[in-house]
């Protein structure tokens, strides 16, 4: 019944009911849609608020070079100083008014520094007039002519460790952004920025009209707020839905945040260029990238240019398309002028100004060899994530001028000594330059080519060191006090049974045995047989212990061949050992990092100078006396004329079996340098240490203007006369030709050998007895 009734009622009521049903359905759908939209808006609103409040960019770590210190007396010539200022992006002017400017002439360099937050304190902005005489700064004065004791320039930023997004930026506050730049950006991008609420209907209409008339897209109607949203959410989608969502986001942003907040975010966020894998975001970084100068040093024309390229950073890239960039700049200037933001005169001047992008792209290849050492030093304390996101400032020991001088010369210097320049197997090189006193690494080359980034031979090529080990043999002997520089060694042929039963018959490089030789002479001429004689007397174990004290960390077997350099090391290991010798027996671990600070400059870690006495300074002083003779009359005398202005220097050649490795390690007062030459496949080089590495070392040390080695003699050193010709036998002593040699007071030469003034045997005995009583 019911069913029938209802079925009979249906045709009658059907249209009205259906309509009502449809209406209700429609209404529900609309309601649902509205609810969805509202929900979406609320969601977007909340998201925007949350995201924007917590807006924190992942900031790359910045790696800085060693800063230049200027004071009266510092070793620095005008060319090197100007080169450094150019690396910092200083502008050469006729008159120095603003920070980041300098002028040169008449033996003076005048500059106004920028100031910098270092790990040990802030360095203020300083005006300084430097008088430079040749290789030294003789005076540093301020504008009133008063002496400035010490001035530290900013460090050069040598690299960044970028976030995985590849984005790099230098966040700034609104106060750091020049007003003119803000005016320029507002003028060209969004004239009604201060009055609209996130979207600008008038602007959209105007843009549409302009585009319609031009028959293509010539103008955008997006406000700065919309552009910021687009950049923040990195979405290139151009759908209507996306546009609407962007508009909602823009409105929401304007609702909750001030114009200043939005502007600050815009200036830090906007994409302004691509540098290889690194994306340049924000105006502060763009200023550094294109002009190598901070924002506050930019001229009107430069600000207009930066303001203009935001529209299409790749298209208007001033480094690649200077004309496009200048045209765009002029549009911005025109807009500013039309709006009355700049005077006619400023407008005309800026319009006529030639585009001046950074003077040179300083070291496009970066410093891959050195950076590897930096990573090695840092990995103990920082993981990759911290380096990529926290904006750490990492202060290194790299001397950019020295590194660049080395890279300018290394390839040619190696080519000059290369015997057989076969293709596919070039002679390779590694160089380590350290500060002679603190163990800081100043320059590093992992290969002979500039900016080479492959296998880092300086850190990783483990090679036998040949005669570079000999100073450890002689130092052990001197420390034992059983030997002194005038001890007579037997340079004679010897046969040694090796652990495997084979007989080893070592030879001198010249193949001839010299007979009786003085201790110092055997070292200077690098005589193998005399060294074996000495080393076997004092014990190979003891020599190995000495080498370990000096910095060797390996575990080579103490066979007799150890005494002639059958011990493998990297150039960096060798540098550590010679560093200890140059520091008079104090070992300081080699370092590439000085300190780390947080993004806002607070010190986080100091990698301080460590020093530990590991050898007797007086014995090291004696050893060095002999090592200086290497240049004067020993294996390095071929470079003495070229290095005349830098002598005395101390050093040692090293050559390995079949001339596979050519080494030289040496030092002056300020620097230690180690050079290795060889083939990656261990083929023969045809070069001794003297014919190869020494020549390269000499070229580099001249370029670095290495300081002569002058270490005062310790109190315990006494001088004595000994015959020129060595003899074991006092009766055959020939005192007609003598030489003065230094000795430890408690290891003087045998009385029978000495030629001291009172030339009778008894007289000498009495002299010595008197000396003891004193």
């Amino acid at each position: 019944m019911t069913s029938r009734n209802s079925s009979s009622a249906r045709p009658k009521d059907s249209p009205g009911r259906f309509r009502r049903y449809l209406f209700r359905l429609l209404w529900s759908v609309v309601l649902l849609a509205v609810l969805l939209v509202v929900y979406r808006c609320i969601w977007v609103d909340r998201k925007i608020r949350r995201d924007f409040q917590a807006l924190q960019w992942a900031l790359p770590a910045r790696i800085y070079s060693r800063p230049v210190e200027l004071f009266a007396g510092v070793h620095m010539n005008a060319d090197d100083l100007v080169d450094y200022l150019q690396r910092l992006g200083y502008r050469r002017t006729a008159k120095v008014d603003r920070s980041g400017e300098y002028k040169v002439g008449g033996g003076h360099v005048v500059l106004r520094s920028r100031g910098f937050q270092f790990w040990d304190g802030a360095e203020p902005e300083v005006y300084a007039d430097l008088t430079i005489n040749g290789h030294r700064v003789s005076k540093v004065q301020d504008a009133d002519g008063a002496d400035i004791q010490l001035l530290r320039l900013e460090p050069v930023e040598i690299e960044q460790i970028n976030p995985s997004t590849g984005e790099d930026r230098m966040p700034v506050t609104l106060a750091d952004i020049p007003k003119t730049l803000i005016t320029a950006v507002v003028a060209v991008e969004d004239q009604r920025f201060y009055t609209h609420h996130g979207i600008d209907p008038k602007g959209i209409a105007r843009a549409m009209w302009a585009n319609l008339r031009a028959g293509g897209i010539v103008q955008g109607g997006s406000t700065l707020t919309q552009q910021l949203i687009k950049n923040l959410y990195l979405d290139k989608e151009q759908t209507l839905r996306r546009k609407i969502e962007e508009a909602v986001m823009a409105l929401s942003l304007e609702l909750h945040f001030s114009k200043d907040d939005i502007l600050t975010a815009y200036f830090n966020e906007i994409f302004l260029g691509q540098d290889g894998k690194r994306a340049i975001h924000g105006f502060a970084l763009a200023s550094q990238y294109y002009f190598a100068r901070p924002l506050n040093e930019l001229r009107l024309d430069e600000m207009a240019l930066l303001a203009g390229i935001g529209r299409g950073a790749t298209y208007y890239n001033p480094l690649r398309y200077p004309q496009r960039a200048v045209d765009r700049r002029n549009v911005v200037l025109g807009r500013m002028h039309d709006l009355g933001e700049i005077s006619d005169k400023d407008y005309e001047t800026a319009l006529k100004t030639k585009l001046q992008v950074r003077e040179k792209i300083v070291n496009r290849n970066g410093y891959p060899s050195f950076m590897q050492l930096v990573y090695d030093n840092l990995k103990r304390d920082y993981d990759k994530d911290a380096l990529r996101t926290q904006g750490l400032n990492i202060f290194t020991t790299l001397d950019v001028t020295m590194q660049s001088k080395m890279e300018d010369r290394l390839d040619d210097a190696v080519a000059r000594v290369e015997r057989d320049a076969r293709k596919g197997n070039p002679l390779e090189a590694a160089v380590v330059i350290t500060d002679a006193n603190t163990g800081e690494v100043r320059a590093l080359a992992g290969g002979r080519k500039r900016g080479y980034s492959g296998f880092n031979r300086a850190l990783n090529a483990v090679r036998p060191i040949g005669s570079l080990v000999k100073p450890a043999v002689y130092l052990t002997a001197l420390e034992s006090k059983q030997f002194n520089l005038a001890s007579v060694l037997a340079d004679q042929e010897i046969e040694l049974k090796q652990p495997n039963g084979e007989v080893w018959k070592p030879q001198n490089y010249e193949r001839e045995a010299d007979g009786d030789v003085y201790f110092y002479d055997a070292l200077q001429r690098s005589l193998n047989l005399a060294t074996l004689d000495l080393g076997l007397k004092i014990g190979v174990d003891k020599v190995k212990q000495t080498l370990t004290r000096l910095g060797y960390t390996g575990d080579a077997q103490p066979y007799p061949s150890f005494l002639l350099g059958a011990v493998d090391m990297t150039p960096l290991d060798v540098a550590q050992i010679y560093q200890t010798l140059a520091s008079s027996g104090f070992r300081s671990p080699l370092r590439a990092v000085e300190a780390v600070t947080t993004a806002d400059g607070k010190p986080l870690a100091f990698y301080s100078i460590e020093t530990k006495q590991v050898a007797d300074p007086a014995a090291v002083w004696l050893l060095e006396h002999a090592l200086q003779g290497v240049f004067e009359r020993g294996t390095a005398k071929s470079v003495a004329p070229a290095l005349r202005a830098h002598m005395p220097l101390a050093g040692k050649t090293g050559t390995t079996n079949d001339l596979r490795d050519s080494w030289f390690a040496g030092y002056g007062n300020d620097l230690v340098g180690v050079v290795w030459l060889g083939h990656d496949d261990n083929q023969e080089t045809g070069l001794t240490g003297a014919a190869g590495a020494l020549q390269v070392w000499s070229t580099l040390m001249q370029a670095f203007d290495v300081e002569p080695r002058q270490v005062p003699a310790p109190e315990s050193i006494k001088f004595d006369q000994v015959p020129l010709t060595p003899t074991h036998n006092g009766a055959q002593r020939d005192c007609s030709a003598t030489q003065s040699l230094p000795f430890l007071a408690d290891a003087m030469p045998d009385v029978a050998i000495s030629c001291e003034v009172n030339d009778s045997f008894f007289g000498r005995v009495i002299d010595r007895f008197k000396g003891l009583l004193k």
Binding site: W119, S584, E632, P712, K718, Q721, M748, V765, F769
Partner: protein, 172 residues
């Protein structure tokens, strides 16, 4: 007669002593400038003035002949090192030991053979209870302070104090 006998015996003893071993002796250095710096013997080497302008540090450091004339009547002129040293002392007085150490290291980079600077660094490390680092720096100061008896005394006192605290960096 007895006196002559005594003389002969003495000489004989001296001979024996002289022959027995490589007798240690203290002698005057030769007249040449050789003992002062490492230089090719016998020719004296013309010395290029050192880069570090530290002629007037409070306690003069064992250096080669000072390139500047002495100015005994006037107060020591300020140098980069003395001005840094003042900052070091100010930082230490304010309890900022890390900063003090960093500043003394900055000074050491400018004048690395300055015994006073190494000593200051040693003092700071000692206050930071970095005993071995302190001992290393103090030893370095000691090796450079040869001509300054007061500083030598101070360094030795510090080293004794550090040894009592168990410093291991007391030699080889």
């Amino acid at each position: 007669m007895t006196a002559r006998l005594l003389g002969v015996v003495t000489v004989a003893m001296l001979v024996l002593t002289g022959c027995a071993t490589n007798v240690p002796a203290r002698r005057e250095p030769p007249p040449a400038p050789a003992p002062v710096i490492h230089a090719p013997v016998p020719a004296p080497v013309v010395i290029v003035p050192k880069p570090e302008p530290t002629p007037s540090l409070p306690p003069p450091v064992a250096e080669e002949p000072a390139p500047l004339p002495p100015t005994p009547d006037k107060p020591a002129p300020a140098t980069p090192v003395t001005s840094l040293l003042a900052s070091v002392q100010a930082a230490v007085a304010a309890g900022k030991l890390d900063q003090g150490a960093a500043l003394s290291e900055r000074a050491l980079r400018i004048s690395p053979r300055d015994a006073q600077l190494w000593y200051q660094l040693a003092l700071i490390r000692a206050r930071q209870n970095r005993i071995d680092d302190a001992a290393g720096a103090a030893k370095r100061a000691l090796s450079l302070a040869a001509k300054d008896p007061i500083l030598l005394q101070q360094i030795n006192a510090l080293l004794q104090e550090l040894a009592a605290k168990g410093a291991t960096n007391s030699g080889k």
